[in-house]
């Protein structure tokens, strides 16, 4: 496993805020040369600590006013049904993320929709009809914040 020092931590935090910051600008802030900063960033990427880049979009401005988290329990838990369920649920465009969890539910889904009636349509036509889907619990997202995490 890769060991990170304090400077790496600052670099990771800076890239989490803005992935487009140049190694030159970042280096100047840290008192490092551009090549030294670039090498550190490359090491973070090569080791998989920084696994990619994501575009942050304003969901509401795109007309997606509702985000709902669904807890889904499977009705049957054979191996085949898990795979069928996972394949089918991942193919739904309104489903942003699918997590296999252990506890009260089997899967946790993040779903977006234009409004509540649209969400109801997605839920009834796409989620409830999934192979193996059983009990579903819905919680409408009111606010969300990401924290920098333990670095």
């Amino acid at each position: 496993m890769i060991e990170l020092d304090k400077t790496d931590h600052i670099i990771v935090r800076a890239l989490m805020r803005d992935a487009r910051v140049t190694s030159k600008a970042l280096g100047e802030k840290l008192g490092l040369s551009q090549p030294a900063t670039w090498r550190r960033i490359k090491r973070l990427k090569d080791s998989g600590v920084i696994s990619g880049r994501r575009l942050r979009l304003d969901r509401e401005k795109l007309g997606l006013g509702v985000t709902v988290f669904l807890g889904v329990k499977l009705a049957t838990k054979r191996r085949v049904s898990l795979e069928d369920f996972e394949r089918a649920v991942s193919a739904i465009p309104e489903v942003l993320s699918v997590e296999h969890v252990l506890g009260l539910y089997d899967y946790r889904l993040k779903v977006v929709a234009t409004d509540i009636p649209d969400f109801e349509r997605v839920l009834r036509r796409r989620i409830m009809t999934l192979p193996g889907a059983g009990e579903v619990e819905a919680n409408v997202l009111l606010s969300e914040e990401r924290r920098p995490g333990p670095i």
């Binding site: 989490m16 600590v49 920084i50 401005k61 924290r147």
Partner: protein, 151 residues
């Protein structure tokens, strides 16, 4: 506000956030200049909020991820604010979300291993104010995590 060309650009950009403006323009059959102008506009009116590096916490040795679904004691009017303010101080908390539904708040918590998780849970989570009930979901696997919006 957004036309089909804007949506096409966002779809391509979302699928390949590392791509250059020239590459995005080519995929959308636009000139680089007009693609660049549209991207500028999408940023200035806040549709594109930014670019963030995605950190793989597992690569940093955080093997355990738990989703804590928390019900608060809402007889206290300040319960939400006080809970969230304190939760922000816990380094291992990656996400704080508030909901309308059965669950009030959800915390995404990471830890190095189960022993570390137990330590975080006892010392930093259970001591948060106004908790009425906690349910834990342990992450097993991410099936879909690109978070790509249906644009």
């Amino acid at each position: 506000m957004l036309d089909d060309v804007d949506r096409r650009i966002l779809r391509q950009y979302q699928a390949a956030p590392d791509a250059s403006v020239a590459e995005i323009a080519e995929r959308c059959a636009l000139t680089a200049a007009s693609c660049w102008r549209r991207l500028e506009k999408l940023e200035s009116n806040g549709v594109i909020l930014g670019h963030e590096a995605v950190v793989d916490w597992q690569a940093l040795g955080f093997a355990v991820e738990v989703s804590l679904r928390i019900t608060l004691d809402k007889t206290q009017t300040t319960a939400f604010d006080e809970f969230i303010a304190k939760a922000r101080n816990v380094a291992e908390v990656l996400e704080i979300q508030t909901f309308l539904g059965k669950v009030d708040v959800r915390l995404s918590v990471i830890a190095r291993d189960m022993a570390h998780y137990q330590e975080v849970y006892r010392a930093h989570i259970l001591t948060l104010p106004h908790i009425a009930d906690i349910e834990a979901l342990m992450h097993i696997a991410r099936i879909k995590s690109d978070e790509a919006l249906p644009i």
